[in-house]
């Protein structure tokens, strides 16, 4: 589904990613962990198509297409979703209007009928309910005045509405209390399927107790220094990130 090859990325001349290689197969969950400044969020941003990143080398192939050549909206319509670390407040546009435009843009791209207002509302209610949010949220301006937890749940709601093939979650767990974390994790788990993949970027192992990954990668100084299964995350939790660069154990990139 996703192949990242030797990806080098800089911002304003400063190198952030220094040769990332990552393969994501359909139906798998990959956790990307690493210390602050290791390049995790840059990787997420580059996948979603945010401006301001210089691709110096390498390639990203998504379902056989050159992902880096697509505008952000085309990536979204092709099934790439980024849950933002810091969801943006957009006063003046309701979540309902926003999501209906988005869902219909994606449906149109897929050659499906656009949803009427009634159909949209029905679908939205279905998706919003399990997230412990009120349908009233739809009438509020996008993220405006939302608490941190509401913003993250709204991201999961948007993901559920858009039904992506590849979802990138950028520190969706940061700042959440345990109840909110469980809700977010349940939201993700309910979307897991054989043809949908997740890249879960997180600083903390805690999230991975609830979203159990198939693979764990450790990003450090712009490279994936270690890859393993879910036990790697536990090891990181107990030992921290400090040992990685000193004591690199090249693990068999088991099917990664």
């Amino acid at each position: 589904m996703l192949q990242i090859r030797n990806l080098h990325v800089s911002i304003d001349g400063q190198k952030i990613l220094r040769g990332i290689d990552l393969d994501v197969q359909p139906g798998t969950v990959h956790a990307v962990m690493g210390p602050n400044g290791s390049g995790k969020s840059t990787l997420a941003s580059v996948l979603a198509g945010r401006d301001g990143y210089e691709i110096e080398e390498g390639s990203v192939t998504y379902n056989g297409q050159d992902l880096l050549d697509m505008d952000p909206e085309i990536r979204a319509r092709e099934g790439v979703f980024l849950a933002f670390q810091y969801p943006v407040e957009v006063p003046g546009v309701t979540t309902m209007y926003f999501m209906r435009e988005a869902v219909n843009a994606v449906r149109k791209h897929r050659g499906e009928e656009e949803l009427s207002a009634g159909e949209f509302l029905k679908l939205a209610r279905q998706k919003i309910d399990p997230l412990g949010m009120e349908a009233d949220m739809l009438k509020r301006a996008i993220n405006e005045g939302f608490s941190g937890g509401e913003k993250k749940r709204s991201e999961i709601f948007q993901m559920a509405m858009l039904e992506p093939k590849l979802a990138v979650l950028d520190e969706t767990d940061s700042g959440l209390d345990i109840d909110a974390l469980k809700i977010v994790a349940d939201g993700v788990n309910s979307l897991r399927s054989a043809d949908r993949s997740f890249v879960v970027i997180t600083h903390y192992q805690r999230l991975l107790n609830y979203i159990v990954p198939d693979y764990v990668h450790v990003l450090s100084d712009g490279r994936i220094e270690l890859s393993g299964d879910k036990n790697l995350a536990l090891e990181l939790e107990s030992r921290g990130y400090g040992w990685i660069n000193d004591d690199v154990v090249p693990q068999a990139a088991a099917g990664v």
């Binding site: 198509g49 952000p72 979204a76 435009e101």
Partner: protein, 436 residues
Amino acid sequence: MSFRRRPRESDVPAIADRADVYLERFNDALARSADEPGWLLERRKRAMERFLQLGIPSLKHEEYKYTDLSALADGRLLFATPPGGADALPSYAAGGASNLATGTGPQVLGRVPHGARVQSLAEALRAEPDLVQRHLGTIAAYDDHALCAVNTAFFSDATVITAERGAVLDEPIQLVFGDGPQGSLPRVLIVAGRNSSVQVVETYAGSGAYWRNAVTEIHAEENARVDHYRAQVESLDAYHTGRLQASQQRDSYVSSFSISFGATVARNDIGTRLNGSGCECSLDGLYAVRGDQLVDHHTSIDHAMPHCNSHQLYKGVLDDRAKGVFNGKIFVRPDAQKTDAVQSNKNLLLSDESEVNTKPQLEIDANDVRCTHGATIGQLDSEAAFYLQSRGIGADRARNLLTYAFAADALERIKVAPLREHFESLLLNRFASQES
């Protein structure tokens, strides 16, 4: 600084030798107006006299320093090129065309309920001569306002809207100012009697190069309510100058919403004088311009008496090389204790070359008041645009949505739903989408 003109001859060199056209036309106009009452002819003559002294304001005039009206000096755009026909703006009034359209004035749309009248000048002079004499030309002073003086000297017909004491017009009356030789100098007088309520929408549209110079006067009696809207989508080759001046008695409420999307140069002077305690006014506007358009709003709120509130929210969207000007004057007179005045002008620049000059001008002579003002000039939030795009919304659509979102709180102040929806949709479809 107040409306001080600079009367020195040297500031208006153009007018002395170009005024011939105005003078010549004025004699024709007087001949046409021969059967008007003496007081009106006197006001017209006085206005002409003042105009000849003031001239079309030049860029050296403090109140016009960004707004070049030199093309108006020779009178050609006013007298020789009337507005051409254009696609009319939709009807925002219930009930469609009214058969009250009268004289040589605008088309009138809407139902006029019992207790209210929409009349031509001639009709109003017959039916309510004292009322017309009391208010026409006395609310919008022309002594120091050249453009108002031109209108007062030359307007050929006026539309007089009156609401009797207690009459409630719960649907708007729409005045459509379109093409034709009478269209250049619209004149409207709205008199709302005690406890009455009136909503008026003025729409302006035309084609070709012309100058439309409109004046509307509002008199709100005690506890009356007047909601006034003007929707200006003139030809992009036209000059539009518009003056709206209200005079409010105690406990009255006047709102004005100025929509300015058209014209190459649009200048709006919007003011109210709060003559009694307990008055409230809300002067709001939305302008969206592109290309080489210029839009200028000058507002003036005169707090003469205590316990009055005023609100102002003007929002602007500027693209390409368009320019915006906002000047908001608030006078708080010595008697006007407990004044609460709020002014805000917010601008969204969509291009590097667009610009805005915004200036609050507060003169406060009372000590127990609250006056706040703020102005912002910003750009589209690229992070917000990316957020929308990352959900599959195209780049143009995202720009449209964010532009609309910027204007949303101003749009919400338009209480006439079809009018609001029309301009919402204009904003939402401002940038052509390449995809849909």
